[in-house]
């Protein structure tokens, strides 16, 4: 990390409730193309962590391979990071989470990393409801290998390479809901106001939070014939709702409540207040969530916002009934049954 941003403290730099400044959440200088959607997504992660006063060293960032997967180097420079291999972020995150359930895990992946090579691991992390914030920076192409269509590219979409995509796209949010994710949202790197609360809700959630962030690739897939361009996404996205995230300690202001159509209490006691939802809509209903996604797709619209949440979700540790103490904190005395027990075991083999 030789490209650290110059270290200086602006006198007016405000700090959050944890005493951290925004600088504490930044990382190395990005080496992505200027204007790349991933950098905006990164900025939203920084903002969400700052607003939640997350202690930076209690976060672990894990990624696969791709331009998107490089970003953990560009945020939360005070957190351990692990840039693993292509498509395998979920398994590495699973092991890490099993070892220490007390950290906040941010998993970064791309659409190639998730929807193709890593499809299997993606599905199974969802199914196990790992307590992981799975952020997929979705640009409909393989940025790092120079712009090939990915499995989330829409049928007929044409990127820089010039040929229309021949196949139907995979909707990762729909899949995530069906495969067991307990918090599913879609955002757009160009809409930070929406993205930051989506991340904050995810961080407070116990279980797998999947956030599909449409994050345009300015170099290979920002053409006016691409459905993953800034322009197209702005024109075609449809926010399912807007919401406020209210952390546990914070008092709920009345004017929030007035417009809210649904309140969701999260695992840690914090709340999500949804606004502008249509009457009768229930964001905790899986079936509705999938139907809504399909219906908007038929209208040619891309649904964004919080799509589904199960606030009572049980994560992998809850499911397998592992101990509350982090497994990596256990020592010899906690783990080794000793020779006397072994001698009794020997007797069972005689």
């Amino acid at each position: 990390m030789s490209d650290r941003k110059p270290e200086f403290r602006h006198p007016k730099l405000t700090s959050n409730a944890g005493g951290y400044s925004r600088r504490d959440y930044e990382g190395a200088m990005s080496t992505l193309c200027a204007g790349c959607g991933h950098d905006s997504t990164t900025a939203a992660i920084i903002q969400a962590c700052f607003e939640l006063s997350v202690p930076p060293h209690r976060v672990a960032k894990i990624s696969g391979i791709g331009c998107s997967s490089k970003t953990p180097a560009y945020f939360l420079g005070k957190s351990h990071g692990f840039n693993s291999v292509h498509g395998r972020m979920p398994s590495v995150a699973t092991g890490a989470n099993m070892a220490n359930r007390d950290l906040l895990y941010i998993g970064i992946s791309g659409d190639g990393d998730t929807a193709s090579i890593g499809m299997g691991q993606f599905g199974h992390a969802l199914r196990r409801n790992l307590n992981l914030n799975y952020i997929c920076m979705n640009n409909g192409c393989y940025g790092l290998t120079k712009g090939q269509d990915s499995a989330t590219a829409d049928l007929g979409s044409i990127g820089k390479r010039g040929a229309p995509n021949l196949y139907n796209s995979i909707d990762l949010c729909e899949l995530a809901i069906e495969l067991g994710a307990s918090y599913v949202a879609r955002g757009f790197s160009g809409d930070k106001a929406q993205l930051v609360p989506l991340f904050k809700g995810a961080f407070a959630h116990n279980g797998l939070a999947f956030i599909d962030v449409i994050s345009p690739c300015v170099t290979f897939n920002n053409t006016n014939t691409s459905t993953k361009s800034y322009h197209y996404v702005r024109e075609h996205s449809e926010a399912t709702n807007t919401f406020d995230f209210v952390p546990l300690q914070q008092e709920i202001l009345t004017h929030y409540q007035e417009g809210s159509s649904q309140e969701i209490t999260m695992h840690d006691g914090s709340m999500i207040l949804l606004h502008k939802g249509e009457p009768g809509r229930d964001v905790t209903n899986r079936l509705q969530a999938v139907t809504r996604l399909e219906a908007e797709k038929e209208r040619g619209r891309l649904l964004t916002g919080l799509l589904y949440v199960n606030p009572a979700s049980r994560d992998t540790h809850d499911i397998i009934n592992s101990c509350q103490r982090p497994l990596n904190s256990l020592v010899d005395a906690d783990l080794c049954p000793g020779n006397a027990a072994l001698q009794e075991l020997n007797a069972t083999f005689r």
Partner: protein, 613 residues
């Protein structure tokens, strides 16, 4: 006719139908011999099938204590109609053929050089029991009872075994004991003195009869493994199953929660990914797999090697290539494991040869993996893992502490003078200091990557920095050579120019060959290898002998290839004995090959390269 007449030295082969409940009856037989104090080596020769196909169970009885497999069947217990004729033909001349005489043998069963021992298993069973399930299961117990009579095996050993097996369900013991008696009495009345094979009690020692996979699982448990990611594959599955069982017993907290996380992964890639993620985060983690899984794990092996993350992998080898023979044994993953992954990557291998070593070396693997921050693969095999073996009892030194390697915790970081770098070789042994996520608010943070990195874990494409990093890993490899378990060397004769070199499950048969050679007046030195990379002792041993015969169970002489590649020995010094049919190697096989190598053939006489001892 000459009947084979032997005490405590023969092979009984059971021919059964897979899934018919024969396994527990056959185990009962083997355990009874073990309890009579006589060395026994049972081998399952089973199909890749759940129900219906033929399966065999070979029990070698050896009063002299030889534990390797021996070919040839002295007594066949043939209760599988599908293979009856084949089983009949495979009995050695002078041997015995026990069969279900409820139906007469067809005409083609016409040998006059073996002794028939008909027991009407079906009739006896149907007369005594009405429950159809019991009828099937107890038929097997009846032949065990008959064997006790035929082999003069102390009947009370069997009844005691049954009683202790069913202490919790004494109701079930009754019909089992009745079945034993039915067989015993029938054989005593109808075949008195016909079978000249017999078991004679010997004093029992402290050894136990245990399968390697259970011992491996206990090794992981004792070593403090808390995370296991795995994907089912024969013959490794029972490692994790046993681990889960023992963890259920020894890792349970009062509240009912468990100090372990065992995840059945979606595939072997994920299994190793889980291990790497957990180890990176400071837990002891492992996986167990077999050849096809090793192939899939390849990319992750390279990551763990290059990013320097501990990982313990148990490879219970089976027959390859590809799906091969999933239920047969081989030692053919050496090269795939030693150099798993692209680029210059290499990994430590440990070679257990009996269950006690499965336990010890698995525990050692965790210490080595954390000390050296790299993958360690325990190279078991199907024979060792899935069969029961006579083994020294397991032992854990209570004063032993886990070696967690060079990890800097918060207070270490606070005390640290100067700048910490994840890949700085401070001590000159190639091993650097690592930190764990979440441990310190300000210090010791780094970015782990499989891309090339400098000493501070920053990305680099600078050739000299990359190269220095690779050279440092090579330095670490040299350190590994001094830390791995030393070989077991036996040099009865300092002047002997011939050395045998072997490892793992080849060892029992090799030792038996050595003792036969010794009886014939030929003395050879031997080395049993326990680890890769090769320590100085291994190289010295090779250099001390003019000729080394490397005995292994694969076609391509994989260990020999490794020795040539890593020690600088010249090819002419290393000869091979290779066994790769999928059945465990035998002393007969090895002895014959050694004999052939020792007797200078006419071709080799004029050939200096074939210089003989």
């Amino acid at each position: 006719m000459n009947r084979i007449e032997r005490v405590n030295d023969f092979v009984v082969r059971f021919a059964n139908v897979n899934g018919s409940g024969s396994a527990s009856a056959n185990n009962l037989f083997a355990r009874a011999i073990y309890r009579a104090g006589v060395a026994v080596s049972p081998k399952n020769i089973f199909p890749s099938n759940i129900q219906g196909l033929p399966t065999w169970y070979e029990v070698r009885v050896s009063g002299d204590g030889h534990l390797g497999r021996r070919a040839g069947v002295d007594l066949a217990v043939a209760v599988n109609g599908q293979t009856l004729l084949r089983d009949y033909r495979e009995v050695l001349p002078g041997g015995y053929f026990l069969y279900d005489s409820t139906r007469a043998l067809p005409d083609e069963f016409d040998r006059d050089d073996i002794t028939l021992l008909g027991i009407p298993l079906t009739t006896l069973c149907n007369e005594a029991f009405s429950n159809p399930k019991l009828r099937q299961l107890l038929k097997n117990i009846i032949y065990v009872g008959a064997l006790a009579s035929l082999l003069d095996l102390d009947f009370t050993i069997l009844t005691e075994a049954i009683t202790s097996q069913f202490t919790k369900k004494p109701k079930l013991a009754e019909p089992n004991i009745l079945a034993l008696e039915l067989g015993y009495n029938f054989a005593r009345e109808h075949h008195p003195g016909r079978c000249l094979l017999s078991i004679r009690r010997q004093p029992r020692d402290e050894r136990i009869l245990i399968d390697g996979n259970s011992a491996t699982a206990l090794g992981a448990l004792y070593a403090g493994a808390t995370v296991a990611g795995w994907y089912p594959i024969t013959p490794s599955t029972s490692v994790i199953e046993a681990f889960e069982r023992y963890a259920g017993r020894f890792r349970r907290e009062e509240e009912g929660t468990r100090k372990v996380a065992i995840l059945q992964a979606e595939d072997e890639l994920a299994a190793l990914g889980i291990v790497i993620g957990a180890s990176w985060n400071g837990a002891r983690a492992f996986t167990a797999t077999s050849g096809p899984g090793i192939s899939l794990m390849s990319e992750f092996f390279g990551l763990a090697y290059f990013a320097e993350i501990p990982a313990v992998v148990i490879d219970v080898q089976r027959v390859g290539p590809s799906t091969g023979m999933p239920t047969r044994t081989q030692q053919a993953d050496l090269l795939a494991c030693a150099y798993a992954s692209h680029g210059d990557s290499k990994h430590l291998l440990l070679f257990p040869s009996d269950p006690k070593e499965c336990f010890d070396l698995t525990a050692d693997a965790f210490d080595l993996a954390e000390r050296l921050q790299t993958p360690v693969i325990v190279m078991s095999d199907l024979d060792l893992g899935m069969n029961e073996h006579l083994s020294p009892p397991l032992h854990w030194e209570d004063s032993r502490r886990y070696d967690r390697g060079k990890v800097l915790h918060a207070d270490d970081l606070d005390r640290l003078p100067g700048k910490w770098g994840r890949y700085l070789d401070v001590d000159g042994d190639g091993i650097c200091y690592r930190t764990l996520p979440g441990s310190h608010p300000e210090k010791g943070v780094y970015f782990t990557r499989g891309t090339s990195h400098n000493e501070y874990s920053g990305y680099t494409e600078e050739s000299p920095i990359y190269q220095a990093g690779m050279e440092r890993l090579q330095r670490k490899w040299q350190t590994a050579r001094t830390l791995v378990p030393p070989p077991e060397i036996d040099t009865p004769d300092d002047d002997c120019r011939l050395g045998l070199l072997f490892f793992g499950t080849t060892s029992h048969a090799a030792r038996e060959s050595i003792s036969r050679l010794a009886a014939a007046g030929v003395r050879v030195n031997s080395l049993r290898l326990k680890a890769f990379p090769f320590s100085d002792q291994v190289i010295e041993f090779i250099n001390r002998h003019r000729q080394i015969i490397v005995i292994e169970q694969n076609r391509d002489a994989q260990l020999r290839t490794l020795l040539l590649a890593e020690t600088g020995v010249t090819a002419d010094r290393l000869q091979s004995i290779l066994h790769f049919d999928g059945l465990p190697i035998t002393a007969d096989f090895i002895s014959e090959r050694i004999q052939a190598l020792l007797e200078p053939s006419t071709a080799a006489a004029g050939d200096t390269q074939g210089e003989q001892v």
